[in-house]
């Protein structure tokens, strides 16, 4: 883990309200694991004050790591105006990533919206033959072309709320129909997206006995496990009542979370 000024190499729009940024950092790009994140200061200012967390969406040989982000508020809007060559203060890589699956078994990567970011990084570590990538969006114009992030996935299945691309409906529908079709085949699920979607996926997978890892989101101040901002309730009756998403996660086995509290 390191805190440093990283140079913005590029910062480009890749879909409606969605940007891909490349930043140069040897330490982060060489050390990052899929599912880990960075805390990024969008500008030298106290308004906005706090760093913003972003999943690492990929790394390149030339010491560049990628983040894929969606405009949701002030911080991300400021970020989208940052020019090439600007240096931004970045802390990372932070948190625990996904368990990289061993080859030979199907891995279902299920993304909701911008939750696709850490899954793009994870996908690179999985044999294409084992990989099924399901991605849900609001509408066609939000769909991210994975090739813009340097990824080619043969089996990619899209759902959009309005039916402008792929299945009309939820990405969880895709999971459910996959399960109906696949019969007893063993598979693992890796998911990231809105909490309500993850809750649904957790219910489905816990029910079916499939292994499932989810990457969670929470309001964060430090990203280091120090401030206890990023609490999420654990399903265990004993020990820790709350996990801290920044340090105990952001990736958790779905069954370890108390989904009722969400």
């Amino acid at each position: 883990m390191i805190e440093q000024e990283s140079e913005v190499i590029f910062n480009k729009k890749v879909a409606d309200g969605t940007f891909l940024m490349g930043l140069r950092s040897y330490e982060i790009s060489s050390g990052a694991k899929p599912g880990q994140f960075v805390m990024l200061r969008v500008r030298q200012s106290f308004d906005p004050l706090l760093r913003r967390p972003f999943s690492i969406c990929g790394t390149r040989e030339d010491d560049i790591f990628l983040i894929l982000y969606r405009l949701v508020g002030r911080g991300t809007t400021i970020l989208s105006h940052v020019g090439e060559g600007t240096k931004l203060s970045v802390t990372g890589p932070l948190g625990k990533g996904f368990d990289i699956p061993k080859p030979g078994r199907k891995s279902l990567l299920i993304a909701g919206g911008i939750g696709i970011a850490p899954l793009i990084f994870l996908a690179r570590k999985i044999k294409m033959i084992d990989l099924i990538f399901m991605a849900g969006y609001g509408s066609l114009k939000e769909v991210i072309d994975l090739e813009s992030a340097g990824l080619k996935v043969p089996d990619i299945r899209i759902a959009t709320d309005d039916g402008t691309l792929g299945h009309k409906g939820l990405v969880t529908d895709l999971l459910e129909s996959y399960m109906t079709m696949s019969g007893n085949e063993m598979f693992k699920v890796f998911s990231c997206g809105p909490l309500h979607m993850l809750k649904r996926i957790a219910a489905i997978t816990i029910n079916s006995g499939a292994e499932c890892q989810v990457s969670l989101e929470a309001s964060m101040a430090c990203g280091l496990g120090a401030c206890q901002s990023c609490a999420v309730k654990s399903s265990s009756d004993q020990g820790m009542v709350y996990y801290h998403v920044c340090r105990d996660g952001p990736v958790f086995p779905a069954k370890s979370i108390d989904w009722k509290s969400i």
Binding site: E3, R41, F46, L49, R51, A218, L224, A231, Y242
Partner: protein, 319 residues
């Protein structure tokens, strides 16, 4: 170039600090969380997260929300409890060569006293800081630190059980901070630190719900610095014991405001989230400031506020 090597060390009663920069409770965990990013031993000291007798889970999320130049937190004093602290966190803290101050709190006077008792004789704890901004269950939820009498009673109860310097940390949510300060001084406090957070709130307009599950939270960060500085200024004048300044300190310049007002040390809170190495930058900045001006000791800055303002000084058109 000057060859002077300015001395940054300060004394808070019997407690000697290598420099006046501490990290504030709740913003620096148990110290170890920051140890891979900065050299903790360069700090004047650290104040660990508030410890209660038993572990506390804290409030449901969301626990924080950003505000303009500030943040609200409603962590709910989540902590691992005294026993786990001594077992799991203390050994590492004992290996440090900087001051370790343990922030404590309770929901009753007895609980405060019990935590202090549990720290008695413990090596490697340089001082205790009492957080009296805790809801006082015996008085119907009002906060201990908003009443001079209960503030004094908590202080006395902790002092009775403690063999360490006891710092009392004041809540700013009061009409007259001096009354509380004087009261805890009389009760025997070694030092006073202030301010804790201002109570605040934020609402999610789209959903028409509070942004924090706890509804209210504590405001910290640069937004509150003017309020903090004023309270420190008032308390410095009201008491003889040392005062530690806290609130919105983001850089060495801000730290100097508090030192000039008379604080003998300062604590850095929210700024740790913005720049994890900010405390080291502050120490560097203070050193440079003193050296550039040939100030031999940081003591020569503390409490040097001159209250007469030069009205001609407001212009920026220097010749």
């Amino acid at each position: 170039m000057t060859s002077i090597n300015s001395d940054l060390s300060v004394k808070i009663g019997t407690l000697e600090l290598k420099n006046p920069v501490l990290t504030a409770s709740g913003t620096f965990g148990y110290g170890s969380e920051f140890s891979s990013l900065i050299d903790i031993n360069k700090l004047g000291g650290i104040v660990v997260k508030g410890i209660s007798l038993r572990p506390r889970a804290g409030n449901p999320p969301p626990r924080i929300v950003e505000t303009h130049c500030g943040m609200l937190n409603a962590i709910g004093l989540a902590n691992i409890g005294l026993e786990n602290f001594l077992k799991e966190k203390l050994p590492w803290l004992q290996s440090l060569s900087t001051a370790v101050i343990v922030n404590i709190y309770g929901h009753s006077i007895e609980e405060y006293a019990a935590v202090a008792a549990g720290l008695k004789g413990v090596e490697g704890v340089s001082a205790i800081e009492i957080n009296i901004s805790c809801p006082n269950v015996e008085c119907g939820g009002m906060v201990f630190g908003t009443d001079p009498k209960t503030s004094a009673r908590v202080t006395e109860a902790v002092l009775k059980e403690s063999d360490k310097p006891v710092i009392v940390k004041l809540s700013p949510n009061v009409t007259d901070i001096r009354a509380i300060a004087i009261s805890v001084e009389k009760a025997g406090a070694y030092a006073i630190s202030l301010i804790n957070t201002l109570t605040g709130m934020a609402i999610d307009v789209e959903k028409r719900v509070p942004k924090l599950a706890n509804i209210t939270g504590g405001l910290s960060g640069p937004a509150i610095r003017p309020v903090a500085l004023y309270m420190v200024y008032q308390v410095v004048k009201a008491v003889k014991i040392p005062v530690i300044g806290i609130g919105g300190i983001m850089n060495y310049w801000d730290a100097l405001e508090f030192l000039i007002a008379g604080a003998r040390a300062i604590q850095v809170g929210t700024a740790n989230f913005v720049e994890p190495d900010v405390s080291l930058d502050i120490i560097e900045g203070l050193k440079r400031f003193c050296m550039d001006r040939e100030i031999i000791s940081i003591d020569d800055i503390i409490g040097t506020l001159n209250e007469k303002v030069d009205p001609g000084g407001q212009g920026t058109r220097t010749n």
